[in-house]
Structure formats: C-alpha cells, structure tokens
C-alpha cells in the first residue's frame, strides 16, 4: 500500500491541481489514498463506486464496450475515474484549471503502474485467516452490542 501511495504522491507532484487521489475497489472501499483533510475516505469511495456503476450501465445501454474512464467537470472541480483493472479504479478530484492533456497522460500511466503492483500483490498474497488475525479470540463478537456504543 505504501508503494501505491507513493505513486499517488508522485502523480500529484506532476499535476499539482490534483486535490485528492484514491484507489477504490468496485465495492466502494478505498484501498489506498492521498486525500485532503476535509474529504472523507468512505464517502469518496462510495461516490466513486456509484459513478462507476452508473457509467457501466450507460455504456452497456449504448453498447459502448468496456468502461475505461469517467470524467465529470464542474466549474471548480472535476472528477476523473480511470479503471485500473476489473476490480479497481483510480479516482481523482482535480481543480478545473488543470491541463487536460498532461493530466490524462499522467493518470493513465499511474493507473497502469498501480495495476501492475496490485496484480503482483494478488499473486503473492497468502490466504488470510481472520480468526488468527484476531488472536483467535472471537468471544468479543458474542458480547458485541451497538446499544453499548450509543451517545449518552
């Protein structure tokens, strides 16, 4: 993950108009990110996945083939989604004055490099047993109650 965050930082150094960058899976979960303090990682991920879903539906409606990029531009910011693989995408929030040509070139390059890292990780990832991660102690789950976590 650090390697991916380093690539995101490199991208931001090359195109400083990029305000936020995240690698999101198609479930909307953020795998790695470089975000400004006021952006919530969870919301950024959920919105990215929603846009991706919408884009997929629209493309299949017009028989447009596989989705590779989504671009939404406002007068202040634009959102650019670039597909990394079947399951992941690179999601960016950018100020609208960014030079589009440079942006696209750098973003595609970065998406490709991240894709290579992720597929390498998938290959080497060993099977994870969560009960082991929890130290074998699953008793806490039995006693879990959100009623104990309410605001006084």
């Amino acid at each position: 993950m650090e390697k991916i965050e380093e690539l995101l930082n490199q991208l931001i150094r090359k195109v400083p108009q990029i305000r936020a960058a995240a690698v999101v899976n198609t479930e909307g979960i953020v795998i790695a990110s470089v975000l400004e303090g006021n952006i919530s990682e969870e919301n950024f991920g959920a919105m990215s996945a929603a846009l991706l879903g919408l884009g997929d539906s629209v493309l299949s409606e017009v028989k447009g083939g596989k989705l590779s990029e989504i671009y939404v531009k406002g007068n202040e910011k634009m959102i650019l989604l670039s597909k990394i693989s079947k399951d992941q995408l690179l999601s960016l929030s950018i100020s609208s004055d960014a030079p589009l040509g440079l942006l696209l070139v750098e973003v595609r390059k970065t998406a490709k490099m991240i894709g290579a890292i992720l597929s390498e990780m998938e290959k080497t990832q060993t099977v994870t047993d969560i009960s082991e991660l929890l130290g074998g102690d699953t008793s806490i789950i039995e006693g879990l109650s959100f009623k104990d976590l309410l605001e006084e």
Binding site: T26, E27, A46, A50, G53, D56, T128, T138, I141, L149
Partner: protein, 196 residues
C-alpha cells in the same frame, strides 16, 4: 470485503434491502442519530425532494475489536421502487451481509414478496446463494393497526428461517437489535470461513 493486514483493518459491506418505503432509510437515520459519533461517519443521502430514495444512502460505522483490529462497516440502503432495479443490483454488488426490511402493512405484502424474489435472483446472477450470505430480516412498522402476522410474513419471505426481528424503526425500536444481528453474522462468517 477488503482486508488490510498492515493497517489491521477489515472492511465489510452491509446492504439494507427491501421494497420502497419499508423503512430502510429510517433505520440508517436512527443509527446515525443515536450512535456515538466516535463510531460512525456522516450519513450521506442521495435522494430527491420527496421521501423516496432515488439512489442510495450510505453510513460508515467503525468499531475496534480485541487486539486493536478495526472493522469498518460500509452500510448502504437501496432504492425500493421497481424502477430502480439497476441501482439495487449495483449497490448489492460485493455485499458481505444483507438486512431485508419488510413492510408489515397488508397492502405491501406483494411488494415484500416481489423484492425478496428479486434479491434471490440478483444474488444468483452474482453467483451467490441465499443460504451462503449472512441475512437478517426485519419486520418493520409493527405499530400499524392492521399489521400482518409474523407467521404470514415468515411464510411469505423467510423460507430459509433466517433470524428476524420485529421493529418500529420510526420509534427506534428493533433498529439496533437488527444491526447487532447482521454484524455478528458477518463477523462470525469472517472468523470461521477462510476468505481467499
């Protein structure tokens, strides 16, 4: 689901599914309002001016288990209108657990059955059988005078004898019982099955 072993973090997705106006958004609003802000983020509701959900609601919840392991729950609701089947499919993708919120009004009987059928079919399309995914059923709106009996509702939509809860979500009743149940089922599945 996404596990980050370095950060000691498990991300899971829970989807509140069900017919239009059964009380899915109300469940999330109650959770948001009552839960200590330490454990939850902002409730994002993408909707139209009326009370019907156009697209989805989203609420992140985060708890820390023994050994410092963090579990982040990404909780979604789907829009219930027949028209939004495509949205429902999208939101359902990758769900680790499902809460089916059924409406106890007799007029909504057919909608409950129809949307449950759709859920089963959508899961099948995604290669998931109903008995393999954690599922909890909530019978909501128990306060209405002519509410259907639990027996009838179980016979209609609870064919696999999944855990079920009676609720009056608008009065906060049953909301946390339901949430506890789905969260426990999901975590239990994570700890007993070895995901690849």
């Amino acid at each position: 689901m996404f596990i980050d072993t370095k950060k000691k973090e498990i991300n899971v997705k829970i989807v509140y599914y069900g017919p239009a106006l059964s009380g899915k958004t109300t469940n999330l609003k109650v959770i948001y309002a009552k839960l200590n802000p330490k454990f939850r983020g902002d409730l994002v509701t993408v909707d139209t001016k009326g009370e019907r959900t156009l697209y989805f609601d989203f609420l992140p919840i985060e708890i820390t288990l023994a050994g410092g392991f963090k579990v982040k729950f990404h909780v979604y609701t789907v829009p219930g209108q027949v028209f939004y089947k495509a949205s429902r499919k999208l939101v359902l993708k990758g769900a680790d657990g499902i809460v089916f919120v059924a409406d106890s009004s007799p007029e909504r009987r057919e909608s409950n059955i129809q949307i449950m059928q759709e859920l089963i079919e959508t899961l099948e399309e995604q290669g998931i059988s109903l008995n393999s995914i954690p599922l909890v059923i909530q019978y909501n709106k128990r306060d209405i005078p002519n509410a259907m009996s639990i027996d009838i509702m179980n016979a209609d939509i609870n064919h696999l004898n999944n855990p079920y809860f009676e609720a009056i979500a608008s009065q906060e009743k049953g909301v946390f019982e339901t949430l506890d149940a789905i969260v426990k089922l999901v975590i239990k599945k994570l700890t007993t099955k070895t995901p690849v």
